[in-house]
C-alpha cells in the first residue's frame, strides 16, 4: 500500500506569457494528508483542472513547488510521479477495449496476469461496467466511458489519485451508489485522492476536507461542517449551500445594550449586545459597512418580527422554498413542511443572532459567525 502526503507550495499557473496570459492558479498552497480524500470545489474555469494537471505533470508550474512525501516532483516527467488520474474528457485509448484500457497501467507495471484479471473484475463490478469490458470506447455511452476512465485510475496503486469530475455524466441514483462504493474502496486501500466536483453533495459525502477555489485562488480549505458554519469569506458563504445564502448590505449602530443592523428600506434588525462575544462588537464597531449573510433554512417565520412579502412559493417534494422580497432584496426561506402561502402575502420573519454571518463589505472577509468572531 502506497499512500503519501502531497504538499503544494505557492503554486502559480500562467498560460501563455506572464503579462498577457491567463493566470489560472494563483499562489496556491495546500496539503493533502496520507489517506485523505480532498474534494476540490469551485465554479467553471476557476483552475481546478489546471491544478490537477500540474500535479500530474502535464502542465509545468509557473512558479512554486509540489512535493510528495517531501520529495519535489514538479520537475519530474509524468511517468516518474506515480500519480493516477481520471480525466475530465475520459481520454480512453480508442484502439483498446475497455478492459485493456483499464489494465494497461498494471500491465506496464508487470503485474501477474491473474492479479490484473481479478483487479479489473473487482473494479468493473464496483463501477457496474462488467458488461462492457470487451467493447471499444467508441461504442459505449459517455457515462460508460467516464466510468471506464475512473476505473483506469482507481485500479492503480499510485501515491495519489486525481479524479477530475469522475461522475459528472451519471444520473443521481447511480452517482449516489457509486459515491459510497468509491469512498469505501479508497478508504479500504488507504489511498490519497483529490476529487474535482461541481456537486456539493458529492464533495460532502466523499471529501474528508473540501477546498473551495475561485478565480484561481484557494478561498477556504476545511471540513464540510466548517465551510457551512464558518465560511471564511462571502464567496465561500454564498458558494456553499443550496439554496445559497441570503446576502444583504447593512450598516451597524452600536447602542448601550443593543446592536442595530440597518438594512435597506429602513429595515432594522435589533439584537441584545449580550448575544455577541464582545470581540465581535469590537470588530464590527470598526467596520461601518458590512454584508449580512443568512442561510435560507435559518430564517424562521414568527408571530412578530420584520415583515417580508412573498414573491413565490415552491414545494419541491421534501421542502418548501419561499422566495420573499425583504429589505429591497430577495430573501429565500426554506421550510421542511408544505406551506400554503400566496404571492403578495406578508409574513413576519425572525432571524436569530446565532444565524448571522457578518462579512466586511470591502474585503469580503468574514467578521463573525453567530455570536463568535470568525
Amino acid at each position: 500500500m502506497s499512500t503519501s502526503q502531497l504538499q503544494l507550495h505557492r503554486v502559480d499557473k500562467i498560460y501563455g506569457v506572464a503579462s498577457t496570459g491567463v493566470h489560472a492558479v494563483k499562489d496556491l498552497s495546500m496539503q493533502v494528508n496520507a489517506g485523505e480524500i480532498v474534494a476540490l470545489l469551485g465554479s467553471s474555469g476557476c483552475g481546478k483542472t489546471s491544478t490537477l494537471r500540474m500535479i500530474a505533470g502535464f502542465e509545468e508550474v509557473s512558479s512554486g513547488s509540489i512535493e510528495i512525501n517531501g520529495t519535489p516532483i514538479h520537475q519530474l516527467p509524468p511517468v516518474r510521479r506515480n500519480v493516477a488520474m481520471a480525466f475530465e474528457g475520459y481520454s480512453l485509448y480508442p484502439p483498446l477495449t475497455v478492459r485493456d484500457n483499464i489494465a494497461f497501467a498494471l500491465k506496464s507495471a508487470k503485474l501477474a496476469k491473474s492479479e490484473i484479471a481479478s483487479r479489473v473484475a473487482h473494479v468493473a463490478q464496483l463501477l457496474e461496467i462488467e458488461n462492457i469490458l470487451d467493447r471499444y470506447p467508441v461504442s459505449i455511452s459517455g457515462g460508460q466511458q467516464q466510468r471506464a476512465s475512473l476505473g483506469r485510475a482507481l485500479i492503480r496503486d499510485a501515491d495519489l489519485h486525481l479524479l477530475d469530475e469522475p461522475m459528472g455524466q451519471l444520473e443521481p441514483q447511480l452517482r449516489a451508489v457509486l459515491r459510497a462504493r468509491i469512498k469505501h474502496f479508497i478508504k479500504e486501500r488507504g489511498l490519497t485522492a483529490i476529487l474535482v466536483t461541481h456537486d456539493q453533495t458529492e464533495a460532502n459525502a466523499l471529501g474528508d476536507r473540501i477546498a473551495v477555489m475561485e478565480a484561481g485562488l484557494l478561498q477556504q480549505y476545511d471540513t464540510a461542517a466548517h465551510l457551512k458554519n464558518s465560511p471564511a469569506n462571502l464567496f465561500t458563504g454564498t458558494f456553499i449551500g443550496e439554496p445559497p445564502m441570503n446576502v444583504f448590505a447593512a450598516s451597524v449602530e452600536l447602542h448601550d445594550n443593543s446592536v442595530h443592523l440597518l438594512l435597506a428600506e429602513a429595515v432594522t434588525l435589533v439584537y441584545a449586545s449580550s448575544e455577541f462575544d464582545p470581540r465581535v462588537l469590537e470588530r464590527i464597531a470598526g467596520v461601518k459597512k458590512l454584508m449580512l449573510g443568512i442561510r435560507p433554512y435559518a430564517v424562521r417565520r414568527a408571530a412578530s418580527g420584520v415583515v417580508a412579502t412573498v414573491v413565490a412559493n415552491q414545494w419541491l417534494g421534501d421542502q418548501t422554498h419561499i422566495s420573499t422580497s425583504f429589505a429591497g432584496s430577495n430573501l429565500v426561506i426554506v421550510e421542511h413542511d408544505r406551506v400554503r402561502l400566496n404571492k403578495g402575502d406578508e409574513i413576519s420573519v425572525a432571524i436569530a443572532a446565532d444565524d448571522l454571518h457578518l462579512f466586511d463589505s470591502e474585503t469580503w472577509v468574514a467578521l463573525s459567525h453567530g455570536r463568535n468572531v470568525a
Binding site: 502535464f58 516527467p77 480525466f87
Partner: protein, 285 residues
C-alpha cells in the same frame, strides 16, 4: 432515408458517367494506344477498331526496341526498378525523419516552431530549376552526383514537407489527454509516441506516405539532371522512345500504363486508409 425519384437516380447516373468519361478518357485512350502499332495510332481519322498487339509490352519487357529502321536497346525495366528504389527510399527516409518531426511540431509549440515548419514547407515553393544548378555543383563536389544515395536525398526533399505538414495535422487532432493518460500509466514519451500517437495517426501517415510516393514517382527534372542513364527512373527513361526515326507512341503508351500501375495498385490497396485518414474523426478520443 430521403426518397429519391427514379428520374433523379437516372440523372445522377448520367452525371457521374460524364464525369468519369471526362477524367478517365485520356487514360482509356492511352491504354488503347498501348495495344496498337504506331501505324494504327497515327491513322486519320482515329478509330477504336484495331487488331490488338502485345508488341509494345514485349519490347519494354525484353528491352529490345524494334523500329522500322533499326533495333535498339532500351532500359525500361531498369528504369522501373530505379523508380521503385528511389521513390520507396525517399518516402521511407521522409517518414523516418518527418513523422517524429511532425509530432514534435504538433506537441511542443515554441516560439519558432511555426517558422521552422513553414521554412520546410517553403522548399516546395522554389522552382526546381532554380535549385538544380547549385545542387549539381554541390553534388559534384560531394561526390553525390549520380549515386542512388544522392538521388534519394534529393527526392526526400520533395516528400518531407508533404509528410511533415499532413501528419502534423493528424497528430494535432489526437487528444493530448489520451497520450497523457498513457504516460502517467507508466510510459515514457517515446513509448507513448510509438504506441499511441503513431497508431492513432496511422491512416494519416499512410495517406501522406502515399501522396509523397506519387510525387516522388512522378518527379522528372531532378532525375534528368542529376542521374546518368543507368540510374534514371521511368519518367526520364520514357525519353528514350523519342528516337531518331520517330516517336514510338505505342511504346510510350505501354510504358505509361506500366509505370502508373504500381501507384494505382498502391492507391487501391490503401484506399481504406485514405478514406479513414481523410475523414479524421476516426482518431478523435
Amino acid at each position: 432515408m430521403l426518397e429519391t425519384s427514379p428520374l433523379e437516380t437516372f440523372l445522377r447516373g448520367v452525371a457521374i458517367l460524364l464525369v468519369i468519361l471526362f477524367f478517365m478518357f485520356p487514360i482509356f485512350w492511352i491504354v488503347l494506344m498501348s495495344f496498337q502499332t504506331n501505324e494504327t495510332i497515327l491513322r486519320i481519322p482515329p478509330s477504336f477498331i484495331f487488331e490488338p498487339t502485345f508488341d509494345n509490352y514485349r519490347a519494354l519487357i525484353t528491352g529490345k526496341l524494334e523500329t522500322n529502321a533499326a533495333s535498339l536497346d532500351i532500359a525500361f525495366m531498369r528504369n522501373m526498378g530505379n523508380s521503385v528504389l528511389l521513390s520507396v527510399g525517399a518516402v521511407l527516409l521522409a517518414l523516418i525523419l518527418g513523422v517524429p518531426a511532425a509530432y514534435s511540431f504538433a506537441r511542443h509549440k515554441t516560439r519558432f516552431s511555426e517558422d521552422i515548419a513553414f521554412t520546410l514547407l517553403s522548399f516546395r515553393f522554389a522552382p526546381p530549376l532554380l535549385v538544380l544548378l547549385p545542387l549539381t555543383i554541390y553534388f559534384q563536389k560531394l561526390g553525390l552526383s549520380d549515386t542512388y544515395f544522392g538521388l534519394i536525398w534529393v527526392y526526400q526533399l520533395i516528400c518531407l514537407p508533404l509528410i511533415l505538414w499532413i501528419v502534423r495535422g493528424y497528430f494535432e487532432d489526437i487528444s493530448e489527454d489520451v497520450e497523457y493518460a498513457y504516460r502517467i500509466g507508466g510510459h515514457s514519451w517515446f513509448e507513448t509516441f510509438r504506441k499511441i500517437a503513431v497508431p492513432l495517426a496511422g491512416p494519416g501517415i499512410a495517406a501522406a506516405g502515399l501522396l509523397a510516393f506519387i510525387f516522388a514517382w512522378n518527379n522528372f527534372i531532378f532525375a534528368l539532371v542529376l542521374a546518368s542513364a543507368d540510374k534514371q527512373p521511368v519518367t526520364v527513361g520514357a525519353l528514350a522512345f523519342v528516337t531518331a526515326s520517330g516517336i514510338q507512341y505505342g511504346q510510350i503508351a505501354a510504358a505509361i500504363v506500366l509505370s502508373i500501375t504500381p501507384t494505382l495498385l498502391l492507391a487501391v490497396y490503401a484506399q481504406k486508409y485514405l478514406v479513414e485518414g481523410l475523414s479524421l474523426g476516426a482518431v478523435k478520443g
